[in-house]
């Protein structure tokens, strides 16, 4: 057996501190771009090692929680590693490295300004994401949730022009407003009635709240966690697309939005518990809201010509899959939601990488300008196609399994309409995603459009290749992941 140099229970702290520790180094190296990016890469690689060690430790047995005194006297900040958070951390940590590789190609080719600031806040955001993933109680989760909001604000408003300012207003206004106005309120109420904020299997609210209050709390959580972008709290996400593409890719397809969906999943499972949740009227109502979001966001995506905007609405729709999975309150749906965090991450980040590659190589942002571009950028659009397959949930892509498990959860709990929602959404996904590569490959290139356009820089292509591999790997190797995840509920028998 390998002995870790530190007791495993400290590793979450290391995982959080590591990206943060990169910050001063990046600042020091601001005059030497190669060193600066090298630091980011080294940090990301180290982070993967740390997270992998932690995952290894967790696979051997439970990792003891770690508590440090926090701002509220009776509520120590706890780090508690459990499979769902572990998976989220693995995905985010791994994709940080990939995105960093991509970012090197993108930021330089795109001649972005203030790249040091970019890498600094990026690192902080990843540290905060790790904090969310390993948070052992709601307060800790909330703290890192807020750090994530704040640290991504400079990234969203990177361009510092009027458009960025407007987007920043919306971004901060919605995320901050909901998190303080609703999420925090819900946390305080939870604390007041339950006397604890720990995430516990089976939840902490069971038998402690009236159904009406529990329903109210659930609504406060679902809407208060605006990072999950359930309508009508979704507006920040399309606005955030003014950010440079690596930000959109990692943060607004993976880290930030998944932090939201992950929080919802975690709260429904470990604060409410399936039994309590299943008995609430509010659950049904919120399911309806999430289902509406799934469909409506897809419909909106259909009408968007701006590529990143379309992807953003697609993300909104896909996030509500996870929220729906959380609200279905069934082990299979939980697994599906957890797995979807990974599959959607790999699929959507691929698409964003492609969008960025198109922007860098061809300076095009609109779908209607992409006619025939597949002929000049075949690899990029092939990647787009494969990433789309994963999002739609088609074999041989990992997206299939998460959708599968969620549908199974909906069946187990007799939510027939939700099965229909998943099915219809699949078709809508096809309708808004696939015309893009189809048009790029099969329409003729307009005259003179191809002059000087080549494939994206090599780092960008390499990053895409890796994420595609991820999509495929998740199809062919779902069993270890799901077995791992199901330990979160200790329900090895619940999976098909």
């Amino acid at each position: 057996m390998i002995m870790a140099p530190l007791p495993a229970s400290w590793l979450p702290l290391v995982a959080i501190a590591l990206p943060m520790a990169c910050v001063p180094l990046i600042l020091l190296a601001r005059r030497f771009p190669d060193v600066r990016e090298g630091i980011t890469m080294a940090g990301a690689s180290l982070l993967i090692v740390v997270v992998a060690l932690l995952a290894f430790a967790l696979s051997l047995g439970p990792v003891a929680p770690l508590a440090v005194t926090g701002p509220i006297a009776d509520l120590p900040l706890t780090m508690r590693v459990e499979p769902l958070g572990m998976l989220f951390a693995l995905v985010a940590g791994f994709l940080w490295l990939i995105t960093s590789i991509y970012a090197v190609g993108y930021m330089r080719a795109h001649h972005e300004k203030n790249q040091t600031r970019f890498y600094v806040f990026f690192a902080i955001a990843i540290g905060a994401t790790m904090g969310i993933a390993f948070a052992g109680d709601l307060l800790t989760l909330f703290i890192f949730y807020e750090i994530l909001t704040i640290s991504t604000f400079p990234l969203v408003t990177h361009a510092q022009n009027d458009e960025a300012r407007r987007a920043g207003r919306l971004y901060l206004g919605i995320l901050m407003g909901t998190s303080i106005g609703l999420f925090l309120l819900a946390i305080v109420i939870t604390y007041a009635v339950a006397g604890t904020l720990d995430f516990r299997p089976g939840g902490i609210l069971q038998d402690k709240v009236q159904p009406a209050l529990a329903g109210l709390l659930l609504a406060l959580y679902v809407f208060g966690i605006a990072k999950a972008a359930v309508m009508p709290m979704h507006r920040w996400l399309p606005a955030a697309m003014v950010a440079p593409t690596p930000v959109s890719a990692l943060l607004h397809a993976v880290a930030v939005v998944k932090a939201g969906a992950f929080s919802v999943l975690k709260i429904t499972t470990f604060i409410f518990g399936f039994d309590l949740l299943a008995g609430l009227t509010a659950t049904g109502l919120l399911q309806a809201v999430a289902a509406f979001t799934v469909i409506a966001a897809s419909l909106v995506a259909l009408t968007k010509d701006n590529l990143k905007a379309r992807l953003a609405y697609s993300t909104i729709s896909q996030l509500s899959y996870i929220v729906l999975a959380a609200l279905i309150a069934d082990p299979a749906a939980f697994l599906g939601g957890g797995f979807h965090i990974a599959t959607h991450a790999f699929g959507k980040i691929t698409l964003f990488f492609c969008a960025g590659a198109i922007l860098v190589a061809a300076h095009k942002t609109r779908i209607s300008e992409l006619d025939g571009m597949g002929r000049v950028m075949p690899f990029t659009f092939a990647a787009f196609l494969i990433g789309s397959f994963s999002l739609i949930g088609l074999p041989p892509m990992g997206g299939l399994w998460s959708k599968w498990l969620m549908i199974q959860g909906a069946f187990n709990t007799q939510h027939w309409i939700l099965i229909g929602v998943f099915a219809v959404s699949t078709l809508l996904n096809i309708a808004y995603l696939l015309p893009i590569p189809f048009r790029a490959f099969f329409r003729p290139l307009p005259d003179g459009a191809s002059s000087g356009v080549r494939e994206a820089p090599l780092p960008c292509l390499a990053a895409m290749a890796v994420t595609i591999m991820g999509c495929l790997a998740l199809f062919f190797l779902p069993d270890p992941v799901i077995a791992f995840l199901s330990r979160a509920l200790s329900l090895s028998g619940a999976f098909p």
């Binding site: 701002p71 703290i143 807020e146 206004g173 106005g181 309120l185 305080v188």
Partner: protein
């Protein structure tokens, strides 16, 4: 002579003696370091007192060895020990920078007087906090008030004098109310010592004079604390006062008003009577909420950012008032913690204004254009302190808000919890718009605009760091507050 035993006396005596020395003896070049030294010593004494209180419990010190009711007692419990630290600490932080903070705004000649007045104001505030004698409290109140009128009037804006005059009138009314209240108490009980008052009042609570005394003292304290709608003196006073005065008073003055309120309600009148029979919560909480909304909303439209901060203070005093009005343990913790925390963040924000005024000569919103690049550290401090105002976790603002909301929920007044949170979201707007201007508007072509000098920057940074430190490690603030609550509430929930 055992100095340590006389710390309570020294706390007052040191600045009190230093003030005239400063005014008379030294030229400005020596007066400045002297004042700094005095304020540091005062702060050290405060910290010593706090440690002593935490270690050994309440300290009762008889001034000059005279026992009450003839003599004056200084009673130090965790609450006022914490406040002493805040007040003297702010003084120690602000004092070194006075030369810069008032340099552009006052004449060289008057600086000695200025320093002297500042020390006098400090003495007054410390006295209010430390004393256990009701009339003595009034005396110190007048000392601090009079010196602060003068300090505000030193601002070189021509509107400073009217603002100070306005403050004078309203402050005097407030002080008079307190005096009348104390007079009524004395009339009914025959004592001015707070401990004795507390014992004797119990049997007299049904009498109209005692009830009237409560009303007089409450309203008087509300005026001093600038509780809406008795806040009218504050915006102009803080806007036109010299930067350093704004910073010092912004962080401390209203807190002392709040302290008076807490002290009289809990120590003298008795919480169970005030909140039970007198239902004072029905006054304090609605006023507090109204203040929170009124102050924050007005702040949103202000173009002069010092004025904006002043109105923000109106809102923050509202939270304190509402927290007191909840009348339960968590509410009171919230009140005490917020008194301290708000002192830190508002101090930091006013220091930022001092930096900006030093460089640009004014602090209106347009002058902030592009400052994010020109004065990165200063603006960084503004952002952090601003986030604290909003109540982002890991800042002090979050801690206060947590206990306030928790208190409201435990008191069963849900709407209060919701309203508090809603009003605090307004701060996102007024802080956010400054950040927008600082980081998104193009900087003017004035190359002279640069980072503030270290003398100003270091205190600003220090306060900002404290905003975070006390937002993470809350043993000192919440721990002391919880300890103080034991003294104040006794057996209450």
């Amino acid at each position: 002579m055992n100095l340590l035993a006389h710390l309570p006396a020294l706390q007052i005596v040191v600045p009190l003696v230093a003030a005239p020395i400063c005014a008379v003896l030294f030229n400005p070049r020596i007066a400045q370091p002297f004042a700094v030294l005095v304020s540091l010593v005062t702060f050290a004494i405060s910290v010593g007192l706090l440690n002593e209180v935490l270690a050994e419990g309440e300290i009762v010190y008889h001034m000059g060895g005279w026992e009450p009711p003839w003599g004056i007692a200084y009673v130090i419990d965790p609450l006022n020990a914490l406040l002493l630290c805040l007040v003297s600490g702010m003084a120690a932080i602000v004092m070194p920078a006075v030369r810069l903070g008032i340099g552009a705004e006052t004449t060289e000649r008057s600086r000695r007087l200025f320093l002297s007045l500042a020390l006098l104001a400090l003495t007054g505030m410390l006295g209010i906090v430390i004393t256990g004698d009701a009339f003595n409290l009034y005396v110190f109140l007048e000392i601090s008030s009079l010196s602060s009128y003068a300090l505000i009037a030193t601002g070189n804006d021509r509107r400073a004098a009217p603002a100070a005059f306005n403050y004078l009138i309203q402050g005097t009314v407030g002080a008079t109310f307190i005096l009348i209240g104390i007079g009524l108490l004395y009339m009914m009980t025959g004592t001015l010592n707070m401990a004795d008052l507390a014992v004797r009042i119990v049997d007299l609570r049904h009498t109209a004079p005692i009830q009237a005394a409560l009303a007089f003292i409450l309203v008087g304290a509300a005026v001093k604390a600038a509780l809406f709608p008795a806040h009218a003196w504050m915006p102009n006073a803080y806007t036109y006062a010299p930067s350093m005065v704004s910073a010092f008073f912004g962080a401390t003055a209203t807190k002392v008003g709040a302290y008076i309120m807490i002290r009289f309600i809990f120590t003298v009148f008795g919480a169970e009577w005030v909140f039970g029979d007198m239902m004072i919560g029905w006054i304090l909480v609605p006023l507090g909420i109204a203040a929170a909304f009124a102050g924050s909303l007005v702040a949103i439209w202000q173009t002069d950012l010092k004025r904006m901060l002043a109105y923000s203070s109106v809102a923050q005093v509202g939270y304190i008032s509402a927290a007191i009005g909840l009348g339960n343990r968590d509410g009171l913790i919230a009140a005490i913690v917020h008194v301290f925390n708000h002192g830190l963040m508002k101090g930091a924000l006013f220091m930022v204004m001092a930096c900006v005024i030093l460089r640009l000569g004014r602090a209106d919103i347009t002058s902030f254009r592009g400052l994010g690049r020109r004065m990165p550290v200063t603006m960084g401090c503004f952002v952090v302190a601003g986030l604290s105002m909003i109540g982002v976790p890991l800042t002090v603002g979050f801690v206060s808000k947590w206990y306030l909301v928790l208190g409201a929920i435990e008191a069963g007044v849900w709407p209060v919890a919701v309203l508090v949170i809603m009003s605090s979201l307004l701060s996102v707007i007024y802080i956010g718009r400054v950040i927008e201007v600082a980081y998104f508007a193009p900087a003017p072509d004035d190359a002279r605009i640069q980072e503030a000098p270290a003398l100003l920057l270091v205190p600003t940074l220090l306060l900002t760091v404290l905003c975070i430190t006390f937002g993470i490690a809350t043993d000192t603030t919440v721990g002391v507050a919880a300890y103080a609550v034991q003294f104040l509430l006794g057996g209450l929930p």
